[in-house]
């Protein structure tokens, strides 16, 4: 079986063939922060955070400033029916897969089921979208801090993060 794809190497080589000599500097840290689960999952409030540009049909205008790849974040209610959601993102392997099934990259159905079965306590009122930004500092200092603020407002214990 082929091993998993090393995207850092693969994309560096790929963009080099396109004339981009200066490789992207991926974020790298030695130390990793860690918060142990403080109570049983069945009592935890969970949110979902995605970079899929998840969008509610009929409500295309979102907060944030994605058009310039500056970054930004936005929230949508966690109870939007999955049929009303879609992703306009192009950041996926368009040959191998599709984004037509939202649950394959934004697992709202599985999370709602987990509440029903008592596996998790509840879902936060809001789920969140974060735009990929060229500036890692922007993501760390502005977008992530806004996500944190909203998670605190919603009493979130646990976040499931899904990069597309």
């Amino acid at each position: 079986m082929a091993s998993y794809v090393r995207y850092i190497d693969r994309t560096r080589d790929y963009y080099k063939t396109k004339g981009y000599e200066k490789p992207y500097q991926w974020a790298h840290f030695e130390d990793v922060p860690f918060t142990p689960l403080k109570k049983p999952l069945a009592q935890c409030r969970v949110t979902l955070i995605s970079t899929s540009e998840i969008t509610v049909r009929g409500a295309e205008h979102k907060e944030g400033d994605d058009e310039s790849n500056v970054g930004g974040m936005y929230s949508i209610p966690s109870n939007v029916p999955v049929e009303k959601l879609y992703s306009p993102s192009h950041s996926y392997d368009r040959v191998a897969t599709t984004l037509e099934d939202v649950d394959a990259f934004y697992p709202t159905t599985a999370l709602h089921e987990a509440v029903k079965t008592g596996r998790i306590g509840s879902l936060a009122e809001r789920f969140h979208g974060v735009y990929n930004a060229y500036s890692q500092r922007r993501t760390r200092e502005r977008d992530a801090m806004e996500v944190l603020k909203r998670c605190r407002e919603d009493g979130v214990d646990v976040a499931v993060l899904v990069p597309v």
């Binding site: 649950d103 922007r138 976040a159």
Partner: protein, 122 residues
């Protein structure tokens, strides 16, 4: 996305990252990662395979319950049903990642960002 996870962990919120691009998430460093060896775009299971999608999320839940040190990583046991050929093709000159139209749009956005940066607006 990993940067967001780190900020949440630093501030008392437990996280799990469900991803496909394992090396990128590992390089950044996160508390807990569930890696599926699937194409970019399907980190939570194959499209329309609801049972598998449930299992991927359940692996995330188990990671939250059992991890006791950061950088805990689990690879989900699933194999892409159409085989592994996609791994040889993604990000290769034989298979451009974006259509020419999308690539042009991406380049325009990049240029716009450069301009904003030069003007001190970002």
């Amino acid at each position: 996305m990993s940067l967001v996870a780190r900020v949440l962990e630093e501030n008392g919120i437990s996280t799990v990252v469900l991803c496909t691009a394992r090396d990128i998430v590992e390089t950044c460093g996160v508390a807990r990662m569930g890696h599926s060896d699937f194409p970019l775009g399907s980190p939570c299971g194959e499209p329309h395979n609801k049972a598998q999608q449930r299992e991927v999320v359940e692996i995330g839940f188990k990671l939250l319950e059992t991890a006791f040190v950061p950088r805990t990583m689990v690879q989900t046991p699933f194999k892409w049903s159409k085989g592994d050929a996609w791994k040889d093709l993604v990000f290769t000159p034989e298979q451009p990642y974006q259509t020419p139209e999308i690539e042009q749009r991406w380049l325009a956005k990049k240029e716009h960002y450069r301009k904003l940066k030069a003007e001190g607006k970002v």
